[in-house]
Amino acid sequence: MTEGIIKIFALTGFFLFGVFFVPEALWADTSNPPTNEMLLERIEQLERRSEQQTRQQIISEMRTKYPSLNILGFGNISFSTTDEAGKTSSFRMGQFVLHFSSALSPRVSYFGEISITARRDAGEGDPKASGFDVEIERNIIRFDQGDHLKISAGRFHTPINWWNSTFHHGVWLQTTIDRPSMLGTLVPIHFLGVVLEGALGESSLNLAYNVGMGNGRGKVLGRAGDAGDVNNNKAWFVNVLSKPDRFFGLDIGASVYGDQITTTSGAVFDEMIFSAHLIWSKENPEVISEYANIRHEAKSGGATFDHQSAYLQIAYRLPWLEARFKPYARYEHNKLDPAEPPLSPTSLFKRRAIAGLRFDVSSYAALKIEYRKEKKDSGSDNNSGLAQVSFTF
């Protein structure tokens, strides 16, 4: 009897040991090996599971995370030759530009832009060697209240010029090799301060506005007051834009900009700029036209100087050869007051005509060739030929 009980316990112990400790593989029924159908079904199951996991992984990655940094770059390399006295034909490395955009929350976003520019005098030594200048071009933090109000602070492209807002530092985006001459000295490019923008109501005109206040020009008028304003009068601007529903592709707008400028010699001028644009943004045809009137009034003596600058650019994307070719032409006219002390605009040309061809090598790279004819106030004519490869990456 006792032996029987011991046997039962022993058998039970062996059974339990087998259940819990013997590897599962040893339990496998090897008398019925899996058929091809079973294996195929198993492979299909595994493939489905893998596909499902991959899709879920992609979907999980696609859900917006904060911060979500995206980097975009622009670059170009050019060659130019000219008959202008004192200038040589040369290759030039254009600006190397990096953009950083990031959503910080559903309503807060950041945008940064850094440029690295080759300069003849950016290096060290005496005389200075050539080298590269690194610059923060834009540095913007924005809070969106909605489509009707977006509040930003930082360093902007002054939005009183359409070209400046749309293409500046993005050479691949623009049809031509260079920007129009009105940008830079005549119309300020950068602005450090606060900007409010948004849609104006809900009409078929699709009106929008930009209002800003900040440091205006620095003592060197082509530069913004990045390290502080040169005087206590802040620069300001207001612009109104419209993209009417009825004419899809049409973009019209007008701006006013006011500032007080102080030159390196200490002279003070009130500055007032009126500008307007009319754009047909489709490529068949593409029409870009802008006008600006720049008025400077001396604080002492009251002398007033007016400058006008305008350009018209027309391009057409040809439908043949996969629509890769886009011929273009632009005419620029600057009517400048040579007596104006702050701008000393005599270095700018009076008229410039360009004609060129853009060839889109790929979706993200373009080759442009261009001929230019410029006439200066002195009466001299200059002819130039340029070629450029521009790209985004």
Partner: protein
């Protein structure tokens, strides 16, 4: 014509009419199935959009449904019929122009990214369910029951004059 002849003619007429009716009805059903539906996450607070409003949303000019709800666009990868139709009807752009449009938008700091690219209708719908404020475009016969289909100019897929046929 005798009465039996008249009946025979009537029978033939009925058969032809029935055949034509079935043919056109089926064609209509097939057309409705092939129309592209604008599908939205349940939180999207609209049931109907005009063509122009839909275009503004697709262009990224209208970015918010309400102050707390951002628009998220889910757009099929190139070659899909849904994408081709959107580019042709709403954007009026070629594929390179469409890419440049979104690069320009980011460049002007108007948005931090372009539309989210989805590789199938299933993926579009799966993502749509997960993201409040999202919209996508899929074939009408692939829209599961219970999802919100937005009318365009008061019309749904299959209706005469619907924009995305």
């Amino acid at each position: 014509m005798s009465l039996s002849g008249l009946l025979k003619t009537m029978r033939r007429l009925l058969l032809v009419t029935g055949f034509l009716w079935v043919l056109f009805f089926q064609a209509g059903v097939a057309q409705a199935a092939e129309d592209i539906a604008l599908v939205a996450h349940p939180t999207v607070p609209v049931d109907n959009l005009s063509f122009v409003q839909a275009r503004k949303i697709l262009l990224g000019n209208h970015q918010y449904w309400s102050p707390d709800l951002r628009v998220t666009l889910l757009i099929r990868a190139p070659v899909a019929r849904e994408r081709d139709l959107l580019l042709k009807k709403f954007y009026e752009m070629s594929e390179p122009q469409f890419r440049q449009h979104w690069i320009s938008k980011i460049f002007r700091a108007e948005t931090t990214s372009g539309p989210k690219v989805v590789f199938s209708s299933d993926m579009a719908l799966e993502l749509l369910v997960l993201i409040p404020g999202s919209i996508t475009f899929v074939r009408a016969d692939q829209v599961p029951k219970g999802l919100k289909v937005i009318q365009i100019d008061g019309r749904l897929p299959g209706d005469p004059g619907y924009s995305l046929q």
